[in-house]
Symmetry: C2
Subunit: 328 residues, 2 copies
């Protein structure tokens, strides 16, 4: 089968690509070709058991999406997005990529026609929800995003469902929890601090906590995120029916609980590298974000997390990213 990954140079895209290259199959089918796209060229893997094409380009430029799907990939992972903070600061860019780009991709698939109906896995976000919420948000709670990013993701979900209902594709939208611990450099996501207050201290560096410790949020490890994507690509979509957008399972924890887990796993010295410095913009943004979810439907449909506790989330980072060691 031919697999296409849009946004393959991003953090989740890289982890997914590595996993596909390592496994050599997706579900029961062998991968025979892999296309990796991003606005900057994703790394070309050194050895792969099948042809890998690396494509650099902006998928929101007219004609580009057509080229991407011309080879009729069987599975398309659409992870390309302008992240929350950037989409809020740059209105035009956020709408151009997150809304227009997504629509161009879906239309390029639709216009191939002739029975072509790929599985499309779309990464949405819990930013489709906006406060006030119930303590744990149920699967039928409405989308009232409080950021342009969440608005654009909610629109992508609606398009995915309609295009799937019409038979143009077989889409599954997955609302990823905030990924924690995000490896690598900080990005422009307003949620970045949830990871950096763990990642930076584990690397011996200082990190800034811009909100209070009682801020509660919803998390999953990168390992869980890749698991969700693979399951979304291979599950029986008939079981999903018309409601194709699913809140993924995750862990609800406060910043204080995150820090307590860091102390348990890595010790007080590491946790002491967190410096408190309130950022009014981030406080305001995070105040409208969800804290906890039921995610019953996704669990019933076979989505599972790799972690049971926040300690696990930290250990997964130490194992997968730091070779089992951290700076004490």
């Amino acid at each position: 089968m031919h697999v296409l990954v849009l946004g393959a140079a991003g953090m989740v895209g890289r982890k997914l690509s590595e996993r596909l290259l390592r496994d050599g199959h997706l579900g029961k089918r062998d991968i025979t070709r892999l296309t990796l796209q991003d606005v900057v060229a994703p790394n070309k893997p050194e050895k792969a058991g099948f042809p890998v094409d690396v494509v650099a380009g902006d998928f929101a430029v007219a004609g580009f999406a057509q080229k991407l799907v011309a080879g009729r990939p069987d599975v398309i992972f659409h992870l390309a997005a302008i992240v929350s903070g950037e989409a809020e600061h740059d209105f035009d860019k956020g709408y151009r990529i997150n809304l227009d780009g997504t629509r161009m991709l879906l239309d390029a698939i639709r216009l191939i026609g002739g029975g072509y109906k790929p599985r499309v896995v779309f990464t949405s976000s819990i930013a489709v929800f906006g406060a006030p919420f119930p303590e744990a948000i149920g699967d039928e709670f409405f989308n009232t995003p409080l950021m342009s990013y969440g608005t654009q993701k909610a629109i992508g979900e609606l398009l995915l469902a309609d295009y799937s209902r019409r038979g143009f594709m077989d889409g599954i939208g997955i609302r990823l929890p905030t990924i924690c611990i995000r490896p690598g450099l900080p990005n422009k996501a307003a949620s970045g601090f949830f990871s950096s207050i763990l990642r930076e201290p584990l690397a011996g560096k200082e990190a800034i906590l811009p909100v209070s410790e009682d801020v509660r949020h919803w998390h999953a490890s990168p390992r869980s995120a890749v698991g969700f994507l693979l399951h979304a690509a291979t599950m029986d979509s008939a079981a999903v029916g018309a409601r194709r957008n699913l809140t993924m399972p995750g862990l609800s924890a406060t910043v204080g609980e995150e820090i307590a887990a860091l102390k348990r796993v890595a010790g007080d010295r590491v946790a002491a590298r967190i410096r408190r410095e309130t950022d009014a913009f981030i406080v305001g943004v995070v105040d409208g974000w969800p804290r906890n979810f039921e995610a019953k439907r996704a669990r019933q449909l076979g989505f599972t997390t790799a972690e049971k506790t926040f300690d696990d989330i930290i250990r997964i980072h130490i194992d997968d990213e730091l070779g089992g060691k951290f700076v004490n």
Copy 2:
């Protein structure tokens, strides 16, 4: 104040325009100018106490929306849409008008800038909901439309909320119940029969009922619809907050209850003009439609209906459209 009505030649648009012309004011402010737009030229009113401009043109053509809003209308009623049946049959047309056109309008408003922030009243639809539902749909129930029309309206709602949150406009989205009794000729809306089984017999004509009598649906009179629009244009939007899209109040009734009301108000002879002829397409479409709503929030915010019973809905039609008489 300057008022702009998009979709002014449609049924609700005509009734709204007539009311604005008759009242001469909107809330406490006098109307000093009225612009009526539709794809076909709306009727130019014969006498009006203020200048009335009639504009014919497609608001989804690039540049057209800019011209419409260049005069900085204080209130914009956006009623222009491809209706449900047509948007389902013609995919491109539905998306072009209902999604692209709406976005062009909102962007034209946004790009004026300089503190321009009109009240924008957007007519959405209960087609943003899709089965299965609870018996009465609450105000926080999610949008899972089962038609492209509902998808396009749900996207319009999201855009309206985001553009309002960003301060580009002061939007209120109102989800109209299915308007009953719709005067005039049948249109391409799949919901048309809810009206025609009453309207046609009252005019001495036969009407076709394409679904079973136990189909339950959610209705409001044209008089109520105009009342909702005027209230949405004049209410204090600060009370609405970030959740700017509201399910309007209405009446939940089965087709059988509609017919029973027709018999009570107009007699058995009139009701005998309804002929049963199942239409599988309409049965399928209507099966996914909502039946009843709580609409608590809209009621709290001051939206009220003109009718208490389905008998009232029929009487309003006889009074407002038939000069108090029907064909016995």
